[in-house]
Structures are given as structure tokens and as C-alpha cells.
Symmetry: C2
Subunit: 403 residues, 2 copies
């Protein structure tokens, strides 16, 4: 419950956060421009920007040419003054990245591929590596982690992880909540990916955005009118476990014919192995086997057909996403998106055939073009979004704001 | 774009709306209680409640026993002072109801069953009837309409209406936007139903709520953390057109194996006709044929099995809803919900078999028990919600608020 009197304090934080987000999205802006965009009085702008400059979060640039030839001083977000760590947990793939607040990757490390038996050691390894990064760089203010869904956010564990059940025994909150000198925020991987698209991708700036993760698992993050859809316990938008055939093969979740069984990288790897098209594929990681196939696209019908079959299922997923969530944009990311245009072409064909024209024409489908992996960027975005929303909570320990 | 200076005006309206909603949900409350719940200062409460009393929206009751034996005056919402009209458009069924702000039905009229050819005459009939109600009752402040989805809210038309295509040619905005002395608000039927559950049903008070409409069509309205999920053009949560078998029969929407083809009242009517179980069913309306079957439940395996088969598909819809939206509650309403406990039992069985236990155990599934049809109540809720959010816009024509 909010204590009486807190309304003013949180209103000030809200306005700080709105200014930071505006500068983050629009780049250098004058105080007058910010005042107009956010309907704030000049006096409020002067006060709040002075606080943010004192905190080192924003700074003044040179003068700008304004309307009617008036010149004014520009303000910009110091994106590189504070950093965040993102940790991506896929099934076998773990990556740790250091990002600035603009989503620019400064360093990345990939851990050795993980098997079920390696999980406890891997968790320990992550703690050691993250603590080392924190020691080296005092500008790191938060850590974001992206984990496969359905992630039960209050319990701290993943309810079901197909084809790598060991992860279900991990409690991420117990493991990491108090493990570091900075706070840790944990989010379902595709939801983190959606946040990354919304914060860091200038081509995906819609408020109604789907990030469709097609990697070792199949997941979805959905922003509807600017709100991430979470559900009661954080298990919403689990399209990997929506059935595309209620009489299909059983899945570990209890359902039958789950989408994830038809178009994950795990399934693609199995089909590649069965086809014999890629020498030595059986000993490759899932990602490497898929990338090896993609490198042969255009070199023969057998390769192209294999992708086309998988991409058709990716397309069925898009049809489902449109009917369930009607986003403005669907951004496809993770391993399968690296097949590029041939994947996108098939997906768009399926959508054109199976969706009401009004909706198929108004839904843009694109491939993620973030410089880093969208889930890794997403993990960073989870931390960056917390900073952008509550800047003083992260900074005031060092430099108290002017009140 | 919001004009500078409007922040204060809308803050006052927001606080008026918060007080009205609190009284609507909690019943009689003291000023001190409202101040605590909403973190408002005593001075603000005194001023805003005085305005609302002047506007006739709330009034004082006798004294209440407070904590520490202090006595204070109660405030209550005058739910019956203002009324709204709700209009339900199903395929063949049109109903017009007059409700108070608490969702209590004061009068209802059902139009003759509609066929494709009758639609233009029916639209005119509705205008005449609604205008007559408005003449009789000056306390009516708004009209809500609930129409089948996918309803494209900016265009004012329904993108696809299975088994009754004539509705696709109607533009609801052109038809009704300026037809009456009070404003008209139009919403997809199941989303209106979700709003009705949230506003009017004390057993369905969760912020994470699904209203699952299984009637002549199949639809869904979804509230996630208090926000109705709309999508870019209002076409989200169209589960009737999510496929449960991507290789199934084609649907008018372009997709194959759409849920609506398996468990609508239209489909149930066809199966009843084919079974020969109900004498004269072919000449009945869809609703009457279903109700005739339900009246025989428990009287023989043939009747029970027919419901069980349909209810299994209703259950697959619930599995889809849980994986897509993870609501706290699913309220099933409209024609099929009138089958009662046997339907609910089968649905719960399917969910227990096909959903991760953590989620199936934490999702409550119930039948709508609103006194009126949930979509008709929903139409009224769409109008009532607008009133509760922006009270002065509806009242100030008559009695300007104290500024």
C-alpha cells in the first residue's frame, strides 16, 4: 500500500522517467521541446533537468537551431555513463553481456554449451563471472536475466522446459536475488526480447509489438498499447504451448500438438540429422546445425524445402499471434530468424493465406536486426527499463538528488 | 496532443473517477477511508466529494462506526440516478436493455430473430426503439453497443462474421455515432462481457480476467492487470479464429480449423439436428435448440455425450486461453454456459489433463452468473465505464461542476 504523501514523490520520479525516456527515444532535445511533448511547465522542466544533470544521467550539448530562429541548449541522455549486465539463459546456451543504457553491447562472453548435468556448475560459473564484471566496472547499476518461459515470476522457477528438464529444478530468485552488489531483474526470454525491440530498435518503435522467439524454444513477448502482457503469474503469451493440432503428439506440458514441437531449433536439428544433408550435424549444437543448413539455402531444393517446411509452422505461429494479440509489428528473432529472407517469405505467404486481409495487410512482419542477440539485449533491456523508470533508486546511493 | 495546462484538469477528473470507482466497488465509505485508500489529502477529498455531491453522482448516508469509536459520515454512489442503454448484437439475436450504473437491469426488449436480409430494417428498428427509450427517460446518459469480433474499431465494421455475412456490410459508426442525444460507445462483444464481469460481478473481481463467450460465435475478452487487451485495430483476443487443427476445415476468415467451427451454438444446433434427438429442432433458433438439449441432460447417454463432445472443444479453448493469457479467472458465458455444471465439469477435466499443474490449479473457471446476459450487461458496462472514468463529460451539460 502506498503511504499518504507519496503521490508527490512518485509524480516527480514519473516526470524524471518520462524525460529520460523521451531523450532516449528522440535523441538531443531542447527544454522547450520536452515541455511541449510532455505537457510540463517550464518551471518543472528547469527543476527536473537540473536534478538529472546533477545525477549525471543527462547533460547539456551545444546550442540547437529552434523554430523561429531562436537558439536553445540541447539536452542528451548520457547513455554510456551507466551500464547494465544482461544474462541470457537458453537451454544449452548461456551468454553474459555488458550494455550501455542505449542497448549498445560493450562486451559479451558465451559459456560452454550446457547439458542437464552441468546446470549447478553453470549457475556457480555465472555468479563468478558476473561478480568479476561488477568488480571491474563500477558504472554497472543493474543486472537483467532472461529465462525460458513459462517463468513463474513470484516463485522464481520455470514451470516446464521441453527437451532440457534440469532447468525446472533451478530457483532463479534463491540463486541470484541477493548474489550481487546491484539488483537483479528476471523476465521470460521473449518478453525481455519485446522490451529490447521497444527500447533499442528504432525500426520497431510501435506500442503494439510482438517479439516472436524461435530458437531452442518457441516463445512470445507482447506489448499491447505499451503494456507488456504478463498474466496472473507471469505465464501469459506462452505460444510455444498453444496447440496447432489438438490431436497431435503429447508435449511435456500436458498439452498435445504444441507449436514448439513443430518449429524449434531442436526440432530443426532433428530433421537435419534425419535428412543427412549436413555432414556431422549430429555432433553439432542445435544452433550450429541450423546455421549450417541456412548457409546452403539457394544451393538446392532439398535444403530449401527443409527450411520451407519449418518456416510454414513459424507462419502458423504468426497467424496465431495475429488472432490472439493483433500487434502492429511481429519481430521474429533467435536462431531460426538467421535463415533470413527465405524464412520471412514463407511466413508472409502463410499469413496472407490464413489471416483476414485487413489484418494481414496492417501487420508488419520483420526479422530482428538488433546488433546483439535479441534475448541477450532483452536481458539488458529488463535492467535498463528499471533504471529508466526509477532512476533515483539506482543513483541516489552515490549522489543524492537535489530535492 | 494534450494542451499544456490540461494536466491539472485531467488530474482532477482522474481523482473524481477514482473516488467513484472505489464507491462502486466497496459500497458506502467514509471520507477518511477514501483518503487512505487513494492516498489523497483530506483537503482534496473534501473538495472533490463536494463537487460530486453537487453533481448528484454521490450522496451522504447516515453516520458510520469508525475505528477507535469515532463516527463519520458515509458516502455512497447514486447508482440509480443515471442510466445507460446496452445493445447486444449477436448474429440472429438483438437485445436492448436499460441499466443503472450498478449493472442492474431495469428493462429489456428482444427484437425478432434476424436473418441476413432483415439487417437494414433491424438497424432502423434499433434507432427507433433507442430514441423512444431516450425520450421516456432523461436520466439515460450514454449508450453502449456490443458487436461480434473481429470489430475494427476505427473503421466501425466487423471484419468477418461466420455464418451470417450480412453484418460485414454494416458500418456501426456511420449508423449510430450521431444518431442519438447521448454518446454511443461500441465494443467487441466478449471484451464488453469482460468489462461487465469486472464492473458488475462481485465473484469475478480479479484484475486478470477472461470472459469466454460461447454463443452464436466464440469470442474472448481479456483484462490483464486491469487493462483490456485490444490490439492495434481492436482485433486482439479473437480466439474463435485461432486454429486447433492447422489442417482442419477452411473457415471464412481464411484460416483452417478455427475453434469457432467446433464449439459455437451454430455448430451445436447442426449436430442436434443431425442427431434427431430434439423434435422440431431444425425450425428452432440456435439458442432454443441448445436449451432444449440442455433440458434433457441427465436423461440419457445420447444427450450427455453430445454435450460432452462439444464441451471438450470448449475446454480446448480454455487451454488456449491459459497458455496465451494466463488469467486468474475464466468466466464462461452466453448460450453454451447455460448447460451448467456438466459443461463446467468437462471443461475442467480437459484443463486438468492439458495444462501445467501450477497453472491449472491457479486458474479459476466459472460460469457467468450475472442476472442479465453477459454481453447485454457488457454493452451497458462499456457505457458505464466511460461514465465512471469521465463523469463530468456526461453530467456537466446539465449541472456544471463547482470549479
Amino acid at each position: 500500500m502506498i503511504a499518504p504523501g507519496s503521490t508527490h514523490a512518485s509524480m516527480a520520479e514519473l516526470n524524471r522517467s518520462r524525460i529520460i525516456r523521451l531523450l532516449h527515444l528522440n535523441g538531443v532535445s531542447s527544454r522547450a521541446h520536452i515541455a511541449r511533448e510532455l505537457s510540463l511547465t517550464p518551471a518543472a522542466i528547469t527543476k527536473i533537468t537540473a536534478q538529472l544533470i546533477d545525477m549525471g544521467i543527462i547533460s547539456e550539448t551545444g546550442t540547437l537551431d529552434g523554430i523561429k530562429k531562436r537558439r536553445s541548449i540541447g539536452l542528451k541522455l548520457n547513455e554510456s555513463k551507466y551500464r547494465v549486465i544482461g544474462v541470457k539463459f537458453a537451454r544449452s546456451i548461456i551468454q553474459i553481456g555488458v550494455f550501455d543504457l542505449g542497448g549498445n553491447l560493450e562486451s559479451v562472453q558465451t559459456l560452454p554449451p550446457v547439458n542437464n548435468d552441468d546446470i549447478p556448475g553453470t549457475l556457480e560459473d555465472i555468479t563468478v563471472r558476473v561478480n568479476h564484471l561488477l568488480e571491474l566496472d563500477p558504472s554497472i547499476v543493474a543486472i537483467g536475466m532472461a529465462v525460458p518461459g513459462p517463468y513463474l515470476r513470484d516463485e522464481g522457477r520455470i514451470a516446464v522446459v521441453t527437451s532440457m528438464i534440469g532447468w525446472q529444478n533451478v530457483n532463479f530468485l534463491d540463486e541470484y536475488e541477493h548474489a550481487f552488489r546491484v539488483p537483479v531483474f528476471i523476465e521470460q526470454d521473449a518478453r525481455a526480447g519485446a522490451l529490447a525491440q521497444s527500447l533499442f530498435n528504432p525500426n520497431a518503435s510501435s506500442n503494439n509489438l510482438a517479439y516472436y522467439l524461435v530458437g531452442e524454444g518457441v516463445g512470445l513477448g507482447l506489448m499491447d498499447h505499451g503494456n507488456l502482457i504478463n498474466g496472473e503469474v507471469g505465464a501469459a503469451t506462452e505460444i510455444g504451448h498453444i496447440s496447432i493440432d489438438v490431436n497431435g503428439e503429447p508435449c511435456e506440458c500436458g498439452n498435445r500438438g504444441c507449436l514448439e514441437r513443430y518449429c524449434s531449433a531442436v526440432r530443426m536439428h532433428r530433421i537435419i540429422d534425419e535428412s543427412g544433408l549436413i555432414d556431422g550435424s549430429a555432433s553439432m549444437t542445435h544452433a550450429d546445425a541450423c546455421l549450417a543448413l541456412f548457409s546452403h539455402l539457394g544451393n538446392g531444393d532439398a535444403y530449401d524445402k527443409l527450411l520451407h517446411d519449418l518456416a510454414t509452422y513459424v507462419g502458423y505461429g504468426c497467424v496465431m499471434i495475429i488472432n490472439a494479440f493483433n500487434p502492429r509489428q511481429i519481430v521474429i528473432g533467435d536462431i531460426l530468424s538467421q535463415a533470413g529472407q527465405p524464412l520471412l517469405d514463407t511466413v508472409k505467404q502463410v499469413v496472407a493465406q490464413r489471416v483476414i486481409p485487413t489484418l494481414s495487410e496492417s501487420t508488419e512482419i520483420l526479422l530482428s536486426d538488433l546488433p546483439a542477440d535479441a534475448t541477450l539485449s532483452g536481458a539488458a533491456a529488463v535492467a535498463a527499463a528499471q533504471f529508466l523508470e526509477h532512476p533515483t533508486e539506482f543513483v541516489e546511493q552515490q549522489e543524492p538528488p537535489v530535492s
